[in-house]
Symmetry: D3
Subunit: 337 residues, 6 copies
């Protein structure tokens, strides 16, 4: 069987985190990693043996060089990484404990990626042998030119019959360049094959009519699928947060006729929650390309996401074997020799 | 509104702790911090935006210099820190896990603070614009001269109508200089406005008659308030210890007519328990100076103490917003971006 | 009372572990310790004040020198450590979290110990003043010469009337030198006074007939004691694994007439699980030499093992007082000052 | 004698440096400190016992909080630190060795300081009891508003008869906001009492005619003093760089009639070169306020700068005693007990 | 201009080094890197922008996975890395200081690479678009099969007219598999285009007659070139070692008619000497592929090697700009901003 | 040949040092080691293969336990280590660079050792099979009881014909218990076989008449040997201190008739200077017990001391081979594989 090829597109940020449970105000040094929603998906897929290519822009300085080296280490193809500009997007992370929340300070404005020129990307060539394309609403929220690049990419993917996954979860504090999500997202999202969104995202970002009081996730999905005929499946994840350390997660999918719900996974000692959603998507896309059906994809993605919570950094490093083991219900954590 | 000013008085020790969960016998390096019950209260208050001044004595060497620098970092006023003598009090900390207890080895005898001269402190000037004064029985236990300085301070605070909080929780192994607590504490404590003590402290340290079998905390409080007319409120904290990592805490207050009890806070993953009581007091004093009533002060102090358990070091670094969030019942620990 | 003397025999490996919860693929440095099932037992006993001598072979290079220095630090007598050969056995450890398992990669083939010459050991002299001898099936599994040394040792211990404990828990992936366990273990084990084994070990390694469906641990023990008349007691441990962090452990002993079962200990936050079984044995042997009866030995060993789970490294460093405290039921983890 | 008070003004940046001699591309963590040319001068002066107040703008987030805490730790008064905006200026440092150069990547554009409003600063009040004011051309290079604040400050200092030191060393890559140094610096610098500049700075930044071929530093000084009558002294430093680790430094001063030259200091093993010039200035200003004459100020400043090269971080932490010891010629480095 | 493609072949080992200047017996943790003479050459070339592909065998476990990830990070193509076997070759490094020597303990016997099967490598395909092939005598010394793979590779490279560089510096303690260097090396080396060797290597390994007393390097080269007609150039490096920290290095080349000698580079503070020779070769090969002549190649290689001595790890990370800067004589180490 | 046995006596302190070149005021953690002049000598001798027993007193707490474990690790016999009292002597170390001096802050008053009871030591038994006894004036300076224990020890050693080395180098700030060195040292030193002292020590501590202006070291020695007939040899070390990093050291010995002077060793990059003198003495005593003559002892001791300067911690870890290599003049620092 041919190894499947996935292309992802989005900003990569340097992550600077206070070691252990120190608050930022206390720490004399910070751990340095890199992450970004779409690259995290690529990292998950590369880790599971897929061929993953990430398209991004990195600044032309020592930090950009370090970022590229980090991405290569993850076995992600960096052939279409553009080196240009002078600013690396950053974020600072302080890890919570018990009822104390983790805190993230973003410092990504005016980054090299935000200032990209859509013409730098020859999507026909980039996507020529791809089996999947993934992007997210975060990219479209950064700048007009980034949104334009998303649109170019999905149009080309659509033309080449490559399935497209679109993650449009909304996050407070984005969209600063003068446009509203509703100005931009509906068109780009319309080319999606699979959509990651909850019912409020569908209402607020895609302009689907939805009454929170009387209607269900399934109802919102039906309307969305009707309005956006390219979209075949809508996926959503759920999280119960008992404390910084203790969560339960699950996922669901509506395919136009049926609602599938994954097994729930409980994580009793979370090591690093950042990128949990991206790990789900990475696992889910792996499932779409390699497993038998949507329910298996959901269960695989949910287990991958659960394992991600036990791993430091923004992306999943658990093996297929570890994920399948969890899907099959083994939570014992016994030593493997 | 004017920012309130609090003065605290007591020894500051260098804390040397084995990193992570290593036993002292294992470690090749130790983390260096500073703490001390009364300075921890000042640190809490400074962190919450109050003007806090800590009065202490530090040795005239590189360690004293480091200590002073550390205190300044916490935004505590060090104007009345005396540099004299040659010994920094120390304590060594080994952190427990599950049912294994943390262990503390004190090495504080003959410290610069213990050898202070009460005449060094011009309390009239030190307290001139203060809104609160805090001291503890630990200081009175160190040496005759330290006890004398406490007495001088509370007399002046009383004369200036400054509210006084007195923490007289008794700890094994103190009082080595030839006097008994009952020789010394009743007089100093008699000037208190708010007393932190449990019923046994009232009996054993303040000479209040109390029958453990038949009487309650409230009974002990009534007798204490009667015997010490300056004291208006008695505060006490409770802790259930399920393991090194898992505790429940709460607090209560008797004001002569009514007993108030705080909400109980559960900490399911304790990062550092040292200073939990001081964080309560810091939060409680903040409440007395800024919140509407005693119950709010108790709830604020208890939540502050709970959050302190999730933070490394001897004092609270959680913000007002984080504390209020916990008071309002949010224990989800969701990431703040 | 004379301090009791225990002799142990087996390989010591260098343990290289990824710090914290990092995966091996992530880490830029590794923690270096040493461990080995039988040395771990010696370390436990030395820590509890016994005189412990460990017999082993270390390579003639900087790593062997480091290993010997490490063993001495544990207060283990290294008089009979042979320096010869050029390879230190190694193992690499990656620590799990929640449902993610810890992983161990062994790299011990062709080690200095594996290539030992049985004639290097003058067991008559080594054991001359010993009160106990301990070995394990791991050693017999390494090479013919290692198995021969075990046999020499137990024969001499038997001749000198020194009690022998034999740990024959079977581990996948051993026995590579062309012999089966059943070729080798029955003879060596036949000299044991106390056997650590479960019912399947007795069946598969010692050739005892046992029907898993219809027979109990006690049944297997009776047959084993009958077949191997030197063996007086059989000990076994049980573990319930709820996650990498949360286990319950207990132990049991059959002495030919009665089955004793220890109290169950629950560890809610495991720091390091490696060596948990060795810590049990160390505590159990301590009990056999110092406590009143087998049940006390089981309870002491089980509590010692539980505390080991809260300590980094391969062996127990908890004190007698800490262990007795846990045996008496105190799991509160309150700070000891 | 009254302790002298110095006010400084300028941006504070977070410094993220690769530990030891690692290149940025290699490191998995970075050391976090704060620095900035003018704050470094304040830190030097506070360390030498002066009262130092630094005026700056820090962002309203966890990084700004950390920065303020760091500044306080240095015993610098933070009363006039404005909290506003959302971006901390940053710089990344990679330390060289032998002939390999250190490298600095700046990431300070659009910082909270750059976006300051000159009206935020009430210079009359800020400078009310000051004995010295220090600023640098770096600040004037950041933005129009920063340059305006400099001008406001020096005008007020001039009005209050407070001596002003101006550091106008030019650094490549600054002045991005559309003005040339010659548009801005002459006016601000005209209020200086002491100028730090070399002959090319006088020519290129202050518009003084100077012929590199035929004229000397002294010639340039004479013309500058003539053109800018407020300026009484011009100071310059020299550095011979044999390698990243081995430098010689000296300084000179022209006071209108005489040229003074300091002793040369040789640093044979440099620990951290950043801030060497600021440490000179800190020492020089200390000398101007406390020592007998300009030559002593030069020698004190040069020795302070030399010692700074042996200390990690951006500012001097050597004591007056250590500096005087070096001025007196003791380079032996014998242990002080 | 087309980027040149280089293929290298050889073992990659995990390097475990004691941090700083600690001796191995002291350290509680070790830094983990990977290195290997030929991979170091590939790393140098990739770092200089060449396309570098390294051919090797890594074990099928967590360490092999980590090694592969490390190699990818260096921008080396890992397409022809074979995953097979279970043992990673290791070496342990203790860094010297002043007159104290660094020490290396190898633990590489029975590694996955040593046990390779020559048939695993399809050299025609591997070398199809290569512009250079590099191997070393270390590989030929490991096992018959490794030597066979070298022979296969050079034969194919020769057939495809790809230049071959052969590093045959002899190191004590290799050649354990029953053959002598002279049994094996002459045939493989005979296909070389460029040979790295000193006069004694030519005599002892290649069977060239050479009289140390009366003949020169040039004499040995002439005879070697005569005996091995494929060889066009012989390169050699020289090192003067004043201490662990202070060396001078240079290089020379004989092309059959003329002897070229590089500038000498002095390193006054060595950070890490391991891989200094490989960095020379990397720089030299870069020069052969990109610079104008052999002298430039020598100077570039020598400067690259000098800079490598200032960088931690086994390979060069200095940029072309930094190397050219040193070639041009700038040793000042001034900060680059 | 029998391995020689050496007994040493003196205090062991915990050393807390700021990592790298950080100043104490900067560091967030400290490295923990143990040292003490006489234990350092024992450590040197054990490292060179001698049987070394150190006699001391350690406190009965977690720090004393850690100290004992540390001493055992060094292969020093701890059979006569007394556990008593509650205070570990401490010292804090800040490492200098270039002309910046290292600084040591002692905190050893009222230590467990200082409060020893001379009757705890049964010197007849302790010294029964010793070949050498070593003590120093530091011990005699701590307390009357410590001085008494020294006297008891040297009397018994003298009675048993065991050679005694006495290190009476004087250090500022000792002798606080009310006696002068001249009250105490002459009697104890009178039993010495070998004395380590310079001419001023002989004059000021042993009451030997000596005129600095007109007389030489040799003159002082002659008079000392005459006055103290037990003393056979006087040894002295010299140090030229060019900077914190660069020293030259040598040693000399007068045996009553002849003055021997060692080769001079230059250390161009000092890692840790603490314990340099103790390492000399360890090497010198090794020489006295194992080498042919006094000059060889001096050269071996001086080389051992030089190598100690390249090693972290208070004592020498260089091997006999490394020392002999340096004695023979090899300072190249080439890698040993």
């Amino acid at each position: 069987m041919d190894t499947k090829k996935v292309v992802t597109f989005g900003e990569v940020m340097m992550r600077l985190s206070a070691p252990g449970y120190q608050k930022i105000v206390q720490t004399a040094n910070m751990e340095v990693r890199f992450g970004g929603s779409e690259m995290n998906v690529a990292a998950s897929l590369a880790n599971l043996g897929m061929v993953a290519k990430h398209v991004t822009v990195l600044p032309d300085n020592l930090l950009g060089k370090k970022a590229k080296s980090f991405i290569r280490k993850l076995d992600i193809n960096t052939q279409n990484v553009i080196i240009s500009g002078n600013r690396m997007g950053l974020y600072f992370l302080e890890k919570g404990a018990s009822m104390r929340s983790s805190q993230i300070v973003y410092d990504r404005e005016n980054s090299a990626f935000e200032k990209l020129d859509p013409d730098w990307f020859d999507w026909a060539e980039i996507l020529s042998d791809a089996n999947w394309f993934h992007w997210s609403g975060i990219t479209a929220a950064l700048s007009s030119s980034a949104a334009k690049a998303c649109l170019d990419a999905v149009k080309m993917a659509n033309k080449l019959n490559i399935p497209i996954s679109s993650d449009i979860y909304f996050r407070q504090g984005q969209w600063k360049y003068g446009k509203l999500p509703t100005d931009v997202l509906p068109e780009i999202a319309s080319y999606s094959t699979v959509l990651l969104a909850n019912e409020l995202n569908m209402r607020d970002l895609l302009g689907v009519e939805f009454d929170e009081e009387t209607e269900s996730f399934e109802d919102a999905c039906r309307k969305t699928l009707q309005k956006y005929p390219n979209i075949k499946k809508i996926v959503d994840t759920d999280r119960q947060s008992f404390s910084s350390h203790h969560n339960k997660i699950s996922s669901k999918l509506f395919d136009g006729s049926q609602l599938y719900e994954s097994e729930t996974q409980e994580i009793t000692f979370i090591i690093d929650r950042v990128g949990g959603g991206d790990a789900f998507l990475g696992g889910f896309i792996y499932g779409q390309l390699n497993l038998d059906n949507d329910l298996e994809s959901l269960n695989f993605g949910t287990a991958a996401s659960a394992l991600k919570h036990t791993i430091e950094g923004d992306f999943n490093l658990a093996s297929i074997e570890e994920i399948q083991n969890l899907v099959s219900g083994d939570i014992s954590g016994r030593i493997k020799r």
